[in-house]
Amino acid sequence: MKRLRFLFLAPAAVVLAATLVAPLAIVSVYSFLSRGAYGGVTEPFSLENYARLWDPLYALIFWRSLWIAAVSTAICLILGFPLALFIAAAGRRKTLYLSLVILPFWTSFLIRLYAWIFLLRDTGLINTALQALGMIREPLPMLYNEGAVILGLVYGFLPFMVLPLYATLERLDPSLIEASADLGARPFQTLFRVTLPLCAPGIWAGAILVFVPSLGTYLTSDLLGGSKTILIGNLVQNQFTSARDWPFGAAASLALMIVAAALLLAARPSGERML
């Protein structure tokens, strides 16, 4: 029996070891090496790369990434919770609404981001329309700022918030909501005293699914953020491409992982052991 279980687990274990553990080990080692003359890594071992992360320039990038990820997660929660409530209460139309939530995944994220550029840029659809209507004279600066990055992240990751929230709400015993009203709670009190607390696991799962990829994003910030809104993801990407400083890129990406893991552990709801 035990051997059979081991046999079934083996393929997943091999794939994980090859695609997760091995690269992580390589990156860890790289982060303690020095940069080669034409990219790559070379000796000697040093802590130099981690020391450089404390430079105010990089610290600012870290801080900005955390802030943008946190704001995006909060907005996803505020938008996603009512949506999940609505879908969970939609009866026979649930499947339809759920497929609509997932529908954007049928198109590449890159293409969808380009669509946003066409909408938001100075000569884009929104600015052109507003100008044609005479509502504005100068185009609104909607692209290449933090707001555009947050918009892109919320747009891209909202389904990851809605789906776990929906799954939790779906399983919620309706008699608990009735009991709350029965005991004198008005609908808003029921929402905050019963529904939300009982949804904590779903909120937590959704927040992780939005916050972690938002923290490491580079595509959204690259396309919608312009050169002023560099995030950790862009910093790491630069180090491995144009800057050719692999060890520093490795150190930055590991630091990102550690910060994310520490934050998630610190903020986890009581009663949850891991994740």
């Binding site: 009991a179 009203a181 005991l183």
Partner: protein
């Protein structure tokens, strides 16, 4: 509304799609009584309870509580504005709150929020009342079935409702416990003096606990009255058969305990062939077939039930026990 009544349903109807769950139901529930709604599943008794609680709104008719209208054409109060509370079939305790948190929930939602000390005193008194003192900081998941049921009761009773609505509150308990809780519940109702509207499909429960029983059949009221009256003088064949067993011999109804059996003929007795016996511990049911072909079941004490299948017996009864419908 009569002087001594607390809850009144006037010609209430409720349909779900094409299914008429409750039709033209009128009920008057006396203040301070233990009132049971009894019927098979699907008879509309739970819908009736939900109409009173405010989870459903009637299509027609009115519901009055203590002289004010809860529901009627054009206006229905939401559940949180009705001075009734519900003990749910699955108890619906809040899993994220402790026993105390569950019991305090209603008190803390009230507008005229009382001082903390008053809440504390009320909660402690109710915990005593339902024998849960000392368990107030437990999670509801750590409680036994009986304890969960008492938390559900306490959570509602602490609000001192005009009427407490109970939706088959004993069905989740194991049979041993159920009999004990029956007596406790009846005793509790007497002590707190709150009107209980109790929904059940278990006739024994309804008969043993209630001051009044309303038997429902397909959404309508079949009969209402004190348990003994409903049992002895059923108004319809449905009530007669649903409430206890009933033999139909020559057009009249006879309870199994009204039939007498003997090896020897007596005045007015009828011949029958014993077809089987059902042993129930203290009692035995003897099944027999009369010469007319009618089957009957007679309740006999242990010693009197020495008949064997295939044997010829004589059946007779007291004319006063006949139920004519």
């Amino acid at each position: 509304m009569a002087e001594d009544s607390i809850l009144e349903l006037r010609r209430v109807s409720k349909a779900f799609g094409s299914h008429r769950a409750v039709s033209n139901l009128s009920l008057t529930i006396p203040r301070g009584s233990f009132f049971s709604l009894l019927g098979p599943s699907g008879c509309g008794k739970t819908t009736t309870l939900r109409l009173v609680a405010g989870f459903e709104n009637p299509d027609e008719g009115e519901i009055w509580l203590s002289g004010s209208r809860l529901a009627g054409p054009g206006e229905c109060l939401p559940p949180y504005r009705r001075n009734v509370n519900t003990v749910f079939q699955n108890y619906a305790l809040f899993p994220h709150l402790t026993v105390r948190g569950n019991i305090e929930f209603g008190l803390r939602r009230r507008r005229d929020s009382r001082p903390a000390a008053a809440i504390e005193a009320r909660v402690r008194a109710v915990l005593e009342q339902v024998r849960l003192a000392g368990k107030d900081s437990r999670r509801t998941s750590q409680l036994s079935g009986g304890e969960r049921q008492r938390v559900a009761l306490a959570r509602s009773l602490v609000l001192e409702p005009d009427v407490l609505l109970l939706d088959e509150p004993l069905s989740a308990l194991d049979p041993q416990l159920r009999k004990q809780v029956r007596a406790e519940l009846k005793d509790l109702q007497r002590r707190v003096g709150i009107t209980f509207l109790f929904v059940t499909h278990d006739q024994e429960e309804a008969l043993s606990m209630s001051d009044f029983v309303a038997v429902m059949d397909r959404g309508a009221l079949a009969q209402v009255g004190p348990p003994e009256e409903v049992y002895r003088r059923p108004a319809t064949r449905f009530v007669a058969s649903f409430l206890g067993a009933m033999n139909w011999i020559g057009g009249v109804g006879l309870r199994p305990e009204a039939l007498r059996l003997s090896r020897h003929p007596a005045h007015g007795s009828r011949r029958a062939i014993v077809t089987g016996k059902t042993f129930l511990g203290p009692l035995v049911y003897v099944e027999a077939r009369l010469e007319t072909g009618e089957a009957c079941s007679a309740q006999a004490s242990h010693s009197a039930a020495c008949f064997q299948a295939g044997e010829t017996v004589h059946v007779w009864w007291d004319a006063a026990d006949e139920v004519k419908l």
